[in-house]
């Protein structure tokens, strides 16, 4: 197996072509019959290069979370192709994916349920380094973990605490530190600022701006304003299809698809406009 890595920024870290995914619809299942299959992703094209941040937006049920999971090969696509660092991983087996997993990381929406409540913060952040054999021993891993905590602006005093002792914003910083621990080439962040207050959200966005140069970042969010604040490009999803994709500034200034226009018109900006709400 090749261990070649692409460091050339113009070569995409991740490239999806015509990505399709069908999943069994368990709600529609009947006894002794095969569950009907739902098409969740219906031909997605996406590519993201190092240092590039791409926003995936859409409403609930649009397939954006499923897309994130498929990009990480947590689901096996039914059709299309998926390449990571130039290698075709569309149908790669887990043992082939395993060494690549260090270089593709994820940050989750709810840090409380994605951080082990019985582990100390330093061990949570150190875990990827140990799992992927990137350090000699646990003490080196912990040392690195403390450096990572510093990077996400958490003081040393947090290292020995447990997740429940932290605020939502602090926990999300831990999630970010863990994701960048193994110096990944790809980070998928799924709704990671949704549960946060505005002031905390702004701090996390600032932090993401600092780390985004080092990796390819796929930022999944229902919040188009947050995406504008962070992403170079945006991809608008609706019912498993990309309806519009382009540079964030251009798409938001001149949306071409009706659905994008609808979404933007539905966002209440914090300024007075008696006509915005309209009448039914």
């Amino acid at each position: 197996m090749s261990t070649m890595r692409h460091t050339d920024p113009v070569l995409p870290v991740l490239e999806a072509r015509g990505l399709r995914l069908h999943l069994a619809d368990r709600a529609g299942a009947r006894w002794f019959r095969k569950a009907p299959r739902l098409e969740i992703l219906r031909g997605i094209d996406l590519s993201v290069a190092q240092g590039e941040t791409i926003g995936v937006v859409g409403e609930s049920g649009s397939g954006k979370t499923t897309l994130g999971r498929t990009l990480l090969r947590l689901y096996e696509p039914t059709d299309g192709s998926l390449r990571f660092e130039g290698q075709d991983i569309t149908h790669a087996r887990e043992e082939r994916l395993r060494p690549m997993r260090a270089r593709m990381q994820c940050i989750f929406q709810d840090p409380l349920s994605s951080l082990n409540p019985r582990h100390r913060i330093e061990d949570i952040v150190a875990q990827p380094l140990l799992s992927f054999g990137l350090v000699r021993d646990r003490s080196e891993a912990r040392g690195r973990a403390r450096q990572l905590l510093e990077r996400v602006q958490l003081s040393q005093s947090f290292a020995l605490r447990y997740p429940h002792e932290l605020s939502g914003g602090q926990r999300q910083r831990v999630g970010i530190a863990r994701a960048i621990a193994a110096s990944p080439k790809l980070v998928i962040a799924d709704e990671i600022v949704s549960g946060l207050d505005v002031s905390t959200q702004a701090q996390i966005l600032m932090l993401l701006r600092e780390i985004r140069a080092e990796t390819a970042l796929v930022f999944i969010s229902h919040d188009l304003s947050v995406v504008r604040a962070l992403c170079d490009r945006v991809l608008v999803m609706h019912r498993g299809v990309v309806v519009e994709q382009g540079a964030t500034d251009a798409v938001f200034a001149r949306p071409e698809h009706d659905y994008t226009r609808d979404l933007l018109a539905s966002i209440p900006l914090p300024e007075r406009d008696p006509n915005w709400i309209g009448s039914a």
Partner: protein
């Protein structure tokens, strides 16, 4: 002519387990007006709404202040008299449309029961009224909807049902606690429009609790900005958004991402602003 003040919260101080959560909260809502109560988590905004409803947690103590509803102090009313107002004169639109409805009761039962209890309608009368209410919130095929269970409805439909039942007894005051936070933006806009429409029709006073400055800007006639259990400024929506006076209000606005502005215009709330607020809270607590 300005309509009369219907809800008058005056110098309300509440502590939970000895810890102050509301510090001298004063706020008025006029009939036919939507007042926004906006703040970040822990600001005390939900607590203020619950105090009006008489639904404070067991460990909470009202230390001083009054909550006057149409001139009557709710806090000095007997429990029975206070409960009689709930659902009929004062209604709630809860935050989570997934948990606020009884999962094992049909939609019809849940609306009809309220109507029979509060308005004394008979079964058929209540059923007919329920159909009207569901029509008023623009839900299709209300007759068959009454026979459905909550899990058969989408989040947006459930929230419409809750809006319909909050307005079902023509309440004079509605407390809306983050009613659209769990919804997609397009559905949120429909629900906000609906609340505005019903509230205008019946000249209902609404206390709208939210963390979303955007929602407040579009919906509310007056706005109270809360932090640390205190109201930092309470003015008309036009004034607050044209010329925010309090440094915290200005900081919140600057920290709110906007799709119409480039990302580098975003400024997190500064440590100075937060330190100043904490200092003021400490001074207040020392004096009480």
């Amino acid at each position: 002519m300005t309509p009369p003040v219907l809800l008058d919260i005056d110098g309300l101080r509440v502590s939970v387990g000895g810890r102050p959560v509301l510090r001298d909260v004063s706020l008025q809502v006029r009939s036919g007006e939507i007042a926004g109560l906006v703040g970040e988590s822990g600001a005390g905004k939900t607590m203020a709404g619950r105090a009006v409803l008489g639904l404070l947690p067991d460990a909470a103590r009202v230390l001083s202040g009054e909550i006057r509803f149409d001139g009557t102090d709710l806090l000095s009313l007997k429990a029975r008299a206070r409960e009689a107002l709930l659902g009929r004169d004062i209604a709630l639109i809860p935050q989570n449309p997934m948990t606020a409805l009884n999962p094992v009761a049909r939609i019809g039962t849940q609306i009809v029961d309220g109507l029979r209890m509060h308005l004394g309608l008979d079964r058929n009368g209540a059923r007919a009224r329920a159909v009207e209410l569901l029509q008023a919130v623009h839900l299709p095929d209300p007759e068959s909807l009454l026979r459905r269970f909550p899990h058969e409805l989408s989040g947006g439909m459930r929230q419409r049902v809750l809006i319909a039942s909050a307005f079902s007894c023509r309440p004079r005051l509605v407390i809306a606690d983050e009613p659209t936070t769990a919804l997609d933006v397009t559905v949120q806009k429909q629900c906000l429009r609906l609340i505005r429409e019903l509230q205008r029709q019946h000249a209902t006073a609404v206390l709208f609790v939210t963390h979303d400055l955007g929602v407040v800007a579009k919906l509310c006639d007056s706005v109270a900005v809360m932090h640390g259990g205190r109201i930092l400024e309470f003015r008309s929506g036009d004034d607050i958004f044209r010329a925010p006076r309090h440094p915290y209000t200005r900081a919140l606005l600057a920290a709110t991402p906007r799709f119409d502005r480039p990302g580098d215009t975003l400024v997190p709330v500064s440590a100075e602003v937060l330190a100043r607020l904490q200092e003021e809270v400490d001074v207040y607590d020392a004096a009480h």
